[in-house]
Symmetry: C2
DNA sequence: TTCATTTATTGAACTTGTTCAATGTTTTTG
DNA sequence: CAAAAACATTGAACAAGTTCAATAAATGAA
């Protein structure tokens, strides 16, 4: 059952079989139904999670009540509020299942146990954090330089599997535009073809 | 001379005196004059740097020739293209000194030596990368949810020291707006007072 | 100091994106 | 299946931000 997790970890750095198995044994499976929350604003995020099934979104609600999606997570993606989790402070984020989902969760205590006792895990998360950081840098530059049209085209090209499973409402909240405007963009694009 | 670097490292995690000194000895000092480049697009970033004096900017130039500033770095900040550095791929970024500056640089080889031989360095960079990632997540959300007016006010409140040392041109490139529009924002704000 | 270069300001016309309200479509759920 | 709820589309009026061009101010180098 943790096979998919093992494969994911091995993609980043090579770990011994024992270390891999020991580390994976620290995760607990949790199922979560569509529209349920894994985390709400104000709570302290007690887990770092790996998605084995389904689709979730990590989002923020601003002072005007608008939602901004920080990222989506499907099978094989990691999910947490890293700020709240590592610093044990109240989260400013929500994590919600958009489909019936299944995640493997590790607690802070167990993760610290891993850092202390499994030599390569520290490197593993250093590498993984670097990768997500690089991806976010790219998104930041794109958001600064590209129009909504282009960002939408990039999104559907980069994440075709997400595009199929998400409503335009969710995609708009990720792109940082209103869903009405996204609707107009879609119309414009379909007319060009 | 590496005193300021030692202090910075100690802020993140506690290291033994020996480890701290050993690690700092791997850095080389480099001075760089205003308008000179530490890195250009297409080059492989050979260093990770710590600024001890001056001011630099990390930026991207898009297909229309517009510049987007990913971040600025003054004394006590780290500077690199982490993607190019870790993966040894051509950079998409420029790093330029906006003032006469002084940086301490570590090469990839020496950093890997540190990861392999100084047990706590891996943790140090895992923690530092997490912190910069959290900061970028916040900026991403702000860029998705706030108007340029508000982002500018946030910027001068959060980085008063940068605000004084930067031209509005640079600040506009960080906020993702034209410098003309920033000028109008500044006027509007000054009239309100 | 002076001339050239870079930076900042402003206005007018334009483009991009928002808001609101109305309507139609799809999905969920009892 | 029917009703309700959520989602998507469209248009019109508006607001936010860009572009271009002209001018002023500040800075830098000879």
């Amino acid at each position: 059952m943790t096979e998919i997790l093992k494969q994911n970890l091995s993609k980043h750095i090579s770990l011994s079989d024992k270390e891999l198995t020991d580390f994976c044994s620290l995760f607990q499976k949790k199922t979560i139904k569509k529209k349920e929350f894994l985390l709400r604003e104000g709570e302290i995020c007690k887990f770092e999670g790996f998605v084995t099934k389904g689709l979730l979104r990590v989002f923020h609600i601003d002072t005007n009540g608008f939602e901004q999606v920080l990222y989506f997570a499907i099978e094989n993606w990691w999910i947490t509020d890293i700020d709240s989790f590592t610093n044990e402070i109240p989260s400013q984020l929500f994590i919600e299942a958009l489909e019936d989902s299944e995640v493997l969760l590790i607690s802070k205590k167990d993760k610290e146990f891993a850092y202390a006792n499994l030599p390569e895990i520290e490197k593993l998360f250093r590498v993984m954090t670097q990768k997500t950081h690089v991806a976010l840098q790219r998104r930041m530059i794109d958001n600064l330089s590209k129009t909504a049209d282009q960002r939408y085209l990039d999104f559907i090209e980069k994440y075709p599997q997400l595009n199929q499973r998400l409503t335009s409402l969710q995609i708009a909240a990720y792109l940082g535009i209103s869903h009405e405007f996204l609707s107009k963009i879609r119309k414009k694009i379909s007319m060009k073809k």
